[in-house]
C-alpha cells in the first residue's frame, strides 16, 4: 500500500496487577475499512481500545495515525485526534437528557458561557433523525432502557465526525432489527478516509459488516483474515483454539410437562397489557420481541421489582403475591437483569462476594456467621466451570472484562438454587465458546427440572434454546410458538405485529403461524 495505514499499533503491551492483558499486540486499520476485532472474553480487546482512546497508557509499544506516531494523553486528546470510541460499558450521565449527553462538552454557547438549549435540542433532533434512532432529545437518559442508552452512545460517538470510530460491542444490547440500523449507520459513516474498529461476539454480524477480521487470544495477536474469503467456524477456531458446534437444537422438548408457574392478565401502568403465559417444569421458555416490547418489564413485574396493576401469579397451583424480589426469592424465583452494571453487580466488591451474594443465607451461613471457606470453594468451582478469566476470586469485579463480569452475574444465579430462573439477556457480551458453555448449563438446569425463562434479543439464541417461544410486541403477547413452529420469520412476524387488533386476533394468527 502506497499511502500510510489509517491507524496502526505495534508491539503494544499492557499489564495490570496480576494480569498480562496485552503483549506484543499489533493491529492495522486501513482507510475506508471496517476491521472486526474478535477474541474470547478477557482476550484484551477493550484494553487495546482503552489504550487507543487514552484511558490507559501502554507499558510498551507505539501507535501510528496516518503514519505519524501518536501518543494519546487522554480521552480529550484522543477525540481531538479524531478517534471516537463507544466503550463496552456505558459512559452516560443518567440525570442529563439525551441531547445533553450527546453534546456534553460541546454545548452550543453564547458568550462562551451561556447555553443555547434550543439549538442543542435542535441539533440533537437533527442528528437523531439523520440516524433514524427512536430517541427523544429531551428524555432523561436514566429513564431509558439499556438498548436505548446504547443508541445514545452510538449517536454521541458518531456526532464527533471522527476519522477512526471504535465500537466495543455496540450490538451487545441490541436485537437484530437495531443491529441492522447500526450497520446502515456504519456503512454511511465509512468513507475513503475513515475507518472503523468493530468489536463483537456475534459472529453472524461480522460477515455482514466487516472487511477484515483480526483475531486475538490471551492478549496476543493471532491472525488477520479477509472476511469475504473466510468462514466463521475458521474464525472461531482461531479465536478459541478449538472447534465449536453452534447449530444445536433445543434439548429435551416434551409437551407432557406439568405447569409450575402460570401468569394471568399481568398488566403494569407503564407498558404491559394482559400478559398471560405458563411456564412448565424443566422447560426453557424463550421470550422474543423487539426492544421495548416489554420482556424485561414482564420479568421485573414477575419478581416484584416493578409495581403490578393487575394480574395473578400461580405457583404450583397456589396463588401467590410477590411485591419485591426478596419474596420472589422465597418462592425460589430468581431474576438475572439485563443491566449487569447497574442491576447485576457489586462493581467494587470482589468476585467471591458477587457470586455468593444471593445464596449466602441459604447455603453459606450457620447461626448468621458466614462460612467463608465453603463460599470460596463454591466460587472457585464456578470460576473454573464458567472459565471466568480473573487472577483470583478476590479480584474486584470492576477490573474484570465485560464478558467475564456477565459470567459472574450468571454464576450468582447458578449458585442459588431456584426452581424458576428468569435470564434477561444472559449471554450479553459473552464469547461464542463461553456461550456454548452457558447453553449447556441452562440445558442441564432444565434437565434437573428447573424452569427457565430466557429473554434474549438474539433470535438465533432463542430458537436454539427454547422449548417454546413467547413473542411480545408493545407490551402484549402477540404469539406463542412451539419449538418446531418457531423460525426467524414466524417470530419476526409476531414481533412486528401491532397488537391494536384484539388478543383473539393475536391468538388465531398464532395458530395460523403454527399451521405455516
Amino acid at each position: 500500500m502506497s499511502e500510510p495505514l489509517l491507524l496502526e499499533a505495534r508491539g503494544v503491551g499492557k499489564s495490570f496487577p496480576g494480569v498480562r492483558a496485552l503483549q506484543d499486540m499489533h493491529i492495522e486499520l486501513r482507510r475506508g475499512e471496517v476491521l472486526a476485532l474478535v477474541g474470547e472474553n478477557g482476550a484484551g480487546k477493550s484494553t487495546l481500545m482503552k489504550l487507543l482512546s487514552g484511558i490507559y497508557t501502554p507499558d510498551e509499544g507505539e501507535f501510528f495515525l496516518d503514519g505519524r506516531p501518536l501518543q494519546v494523553s487522554g480521552p480529550k486528546h484522543a477525540l481531538e485526534q479524531g478517534i471516537s470510541i463507544i466503550h463496552q460499558e456505558f459512559n452516560l450521565m443518567p440525570d442529563l437528557t439525551v441531547a445533553q449527553n450527546i453534546f456534553i462538552g460541546r454545548e452550543p454557547r453564547s458568550a462562551g458561557f451561556f447555553l443555547g438549549e434550543r439549538t442543542l435540542n435542535a441539533r440533537a433532533k437533527e442528528l437523531i433523525d439523520r440516524l433514524h434512532l427512536p430517541l427523544d432529545p429531551r428524555q432523561v437518559v436514566g429513564s431509558l432502557t439499556v438498548a436505548r442508552q446504547q443508541m445514545v452512545e452510538i449517536a454521541k460517538a458518531l456526532s464527533y465526525e471522527a476519522k477512526v470510530l471504535i465500537m466495543d460491542e455496540p450490538t451487545a444490547a441490541l436485537n437484530d432489527a437495531e443491529v441492522q440500523v447500526l450497520h446502515d449507520l456504519i456503512r454511511r459513516f465509512r468513507k475513503p478516509d475513515t475507518g472503523v474498529i468493530y468489536i463483537s461476539h456475534r459472529m453472524d454480524e461480522l460477515k455482514a459488516i466487516s472487511d477484515r477480521i483480526t483475531v486475538i487470544r490471551d492478549g496476543r495477536y493471532v491472525d488477520t483474515l479477509d472476511t469475504a474469503t473466510t468462514s466463521m467456524p475458521e474464525v472461531i477456531a482461531r479465536m478459541v483454539g478449538r472447534e465449536i458446534t453452534s447449530d444445536a437444537e433445543p434439548e429435551g422438548v416434551r409437551p407432557d410437562r406439568e405447569t409450575v408457574l402460570s401468569v394471568r392478565g399481568l398488566s403494569t401502568k407503564a407498558l404491559l397489557k394482559d400478559v398471560s403465559f405458563e411456564l412448565q417444569e424443566g422447560e426453557i421458555l424463550g421470550f422474543a420481541g423487539l426492544m421495548g416490547a416489554g420482556r424485561t418489564e414482564v420479568a421485573r413485574a414477575l419478581v416484584g421489582a416493578d409495581p403490578v396493576e393487575s394480574g395473578t401469579i400461580t405457583l404450583r397451583g397456589e396463588l401467590i403475591r410477590i411485591t419485591n424480589p426478596a419474596e420472589a426469592a422465597k418462592h425460589r424465583i430468581g431474576y438475572l437483569s439485563e443491566d449487569r452494571k447497574h442491576l447485576g453487580l457489586l462493581l467494587d466488591q470482589d468476585v467471591n462476594a458477587n457470586v455468593v451474594l444471593s445464596s449466602i443465607r441459604d447455603l453459606f451461613q450457620s447461626f448468621g456467621f458466614v462460612r467463608s471457606k465453603a463460599m470460596r470453594a463454591k466460587t472457585n468451582e464456578l470460576v473454573t466451570s464458567l472459565r471466568i478469566k480473573t487472577p483470583s476470586i478476590d479480584q474486584t469485579v470492576k477490573n474484570l472484562s465485560g464478558g467475564n463480569q456477565q459470567k459472574v452475574v450468571i454464576a450468582k444465579w447458578l449458585v442459588k438454587d431456584c426452581d424458576v430462573l428468569i435470564f434477561d439477556e444472559p449471554t450479553r457480551g459473552i464469547d461464542v465458546g463461553a456461550k456454548e458453555e452457558i447453553y449447556r448449563l441452562l440445558n442441564e438446569l432444565a434437565a434437573q427440572g428447573k424452569s427457565i425463562i430466557m429473554i434474549s434479543s438474539e433470535l438465533p439464541e432463542v430458537l436454539r434454546m427454547s422449548h417454546r417461544i413467547v413473542v411480545m410486541s408493545e407490551g402484549r403477547i402477540t404469539g406463542r410458538l412451539s419449538a418446531e413452529e418457531a423460525t426467524q420469520e414466524s417470530v419476526m412476524h409476531f414481533a412486528t405485529l401491532r397488537p391494536d387488533s384484539s388478543d383473539g386476533a393475536a391468538e388465531d394468527s398464532a395458530t395460523k403461524a403454527g399451521a405455516r
Binding site: 484511558i55 487522554g74 480521552p75 480529550k76 477525540l79 466503550h87 456505558f90 459512559n91 452516560l92 450521565m93 443518567p94 440525570d95 442529563l96 445533553q100 456534553i104 462538552g105 454545548e107 454557547r109 458561557f113 451561556f114 447555553l115 438549549e117 435540542n121 433514524h132 427512536p134 430517541l135 427523544d136 429531551r138 428524555q139 429513564s143 432502557t145 436505548r148 437484530d176 432489527a177 437495531e178 441492522q180 440500523v181 446502515d184 401502568k269 407503564a270 407498558l271 423487539l290 426492544m291 421495548g292 416490547a293 410486541s473 408493545e474 419476526m492 412486528t496 401491532r498
Partner: protein, 336 residues
C-alpha cells in the same frame, strides 16, 4: 427489517412533546411550594402576629445568611460533594471584612470585595484538596472548618470587631434601598443572588457540568471535560457565597463575631436537602434550596411567635421537616 419499522416501536415515554413536559415541570415547581404554603397558612391562622408585613420581612430577613450559604453549597452538593467549611468559613470572612474595613481602614467596597474574595480563596483551597489531592470532600472541608474556626479567633484576637464607625456597612443588611418601606437590603441581595445562582446552574456551561459531574464523574471525564478544573471552580464559587454570607451576617450584627458559624453548615445543608437536592449528586435546583431555607425559617419564626416552649420547638421542627419532605417525595412519585 429496516429502520422505519424500528421507529414504529417507539415506546410511550419517548412520545411526550417538549410542550407537555415543560408544563408539567412548571406545575411540579409550583407544587413544590405546597408544604411551605401549608405551613405558612397554618401559622397565619393560629397566630395573629404571624402574617403581617413586619413579621414576614422578619422571616425573609432571618433567611438571608442560611440562604446564601445554602445557595453556594447547592452547587457542591449537586456534584456529589459536600462543604462543611461554610459555617466557620463565614465567620472567618466576617473577621477578614472587619480587619480590612475597621482595622486596615479600607474603603467599604474594597473591604467587602476583599472579604468575598477571601471566601473564594477558602473555596479554592477546598477545591484543590478535593480534586488535586483527591481527598474526600467531607474530610477536606471538615479540616477547613477547623482551620477557619481557629483562624477567625486568631485574626480577631477572640474579640468581636465592631463596624459602628462605618454605618454604611450595616446598611448593607438592615438599610432599605426602597424608601419608606422598611424592607431590608439583605433580602434584596439574597433575591438577586438567588436569581444569579439559578441562571448559573440552569443556563450556563458551569451548571451543566455541575450536574454532569454529579451524575457520572467518570463518564464526564471520558467525554473530554476537565473535571478537576471544574470541581475547583465549583468549590471556589461556593466559597464566594460563603464570603458574601460573612459580609451579610457581620453587617446585620454590626460586628464580626469570630465564634459564630459552627452549626450553620448543617442548617444550610439541611435547607438544600429539604429542597430536594440529593446528597448523591446529579439532582437539585436553586428553587428547591430557596424553598428549603424558607421552610426552616418560617418554622423557626412561627414556633417562636406562637411562643411554643423552647424544648418543644425542636421536637415539632423535626416532625414537620419529616412530613414536608415526605409529602414532597410522595407527590413526585405520584406525578408520572
Amino acid at each position: 427489517m429496516t429502520s422505519p419499522s424500528v421507529t414504529e416501536q417507539e415506546r410511550p415515554e419517548a412520545a411526550p412533546a417538549a410542550v407537555r413536559r415543560t408544563l408539567r415541570e412548571r406545575l411540579q415547581q409550583f407544587l413544590a411550594f405546597a408544604s411551605l404554603i401549608v405551613i405558612f397558612a397554618f401559622f397565619s391562622i393560629v397566630s395573629p402576629n404571624f402574617f403581617n408585613y413586619g413579621n414576614v420581612t422578619n422571616i425573609l430577613f432571618s433567611t438571608v445568611v442560611i440562604g446564601l450559604l445554602a445557595l453556594g453549597t447547592t452547587f457542591v452538593i449537586i456534584t456529589g460533594g459536600i462543604d462543611l467549611s461554610i459555617g466557620t468559613g463565614m465567620a472567618l470572612c466576617a473577621v477578614i471584612s472587619g480587619v480590612l474595613i475597621v482595622d486596615a481602614g479600607l474603603p467599604l467596597p474594597l473591604g467587602v470585595l476583599g472579604a468575598i474574595l477571601f471566601g473564594g480563596l477558602i473555596g479554592l483551597i477546598n477545591g484543590l484538596n478535593v480534586s488535586v489531592l483527591g481527598l474526600p470532600p467531607f474530610i477536606a472541608t471538615l479540616a477547613m472548618m477547623l482551620v477557619a474556626q481557629g483562624l477567625a479567633l486568631v485574626l480577631s484576637d477572640s474579640t468581636p470587631i465592631y463596624f459602628d464607625q462605618t454605618p454604611g456597612y450595616i446598611d448593607l443588611s438592615t438599610g432599605s434601598l426602597i424608601p419608606g418601606a422598611n424592607f431590608p437590603n439583605a433580602v434584596l441581595i439574597l433575591a438577586v443572588v438567588a436569581v444569579l445562582a439559578g441562571v448559573l446552574l440552569n443556563k450556563t456551561v458551569l451548571g451543566r457540568y455541575t450536574y454532569s459531574i454529579g451524575s457520572n464523574e467518570e463518564a464526564t471525564a471520558l467525554s473530554g471535560i476537565d473535571v478537576r478544573r471544574w470541581k475547583i471552580i465549583i468549590y471556589t464559587l461556593a466559597g464566594l457565597f460563603t464570603g458574601l454570607a460573612g459580609v451579610m451576617i457581620s453587617a446585620r450584627l454590626g460586628s464580626a463575631q469570630p465564634a459564630t458559624g459552627m452549626g450553620y453548615e448543617l442548617q444550610a445543608i439541611a435547607a438544600v436537602v429539604i429542597g430536594g437536592t440529593s446528597l448523591a449528586g446529579g439532582k437539585g435546583s436553586i428553587v428547591g434550596t430557596v424553598i428549603g431555607a424558607l421552610i426552616i425559617s418560617v418554622l423557626n419564626n412561627g414556633l417562636q411567635i406562637m411562643s411554643i416552649p423552647q424544648e418543644w420547638q425542636n421536637v415539632i421542627l423535626g416532625c414537620v421537616i419529616l412530613l414536608a419532605v415526605y409529602a414532597d417525595m410522595a407527590r413526585k412519585r405520584a406525578s408520572p
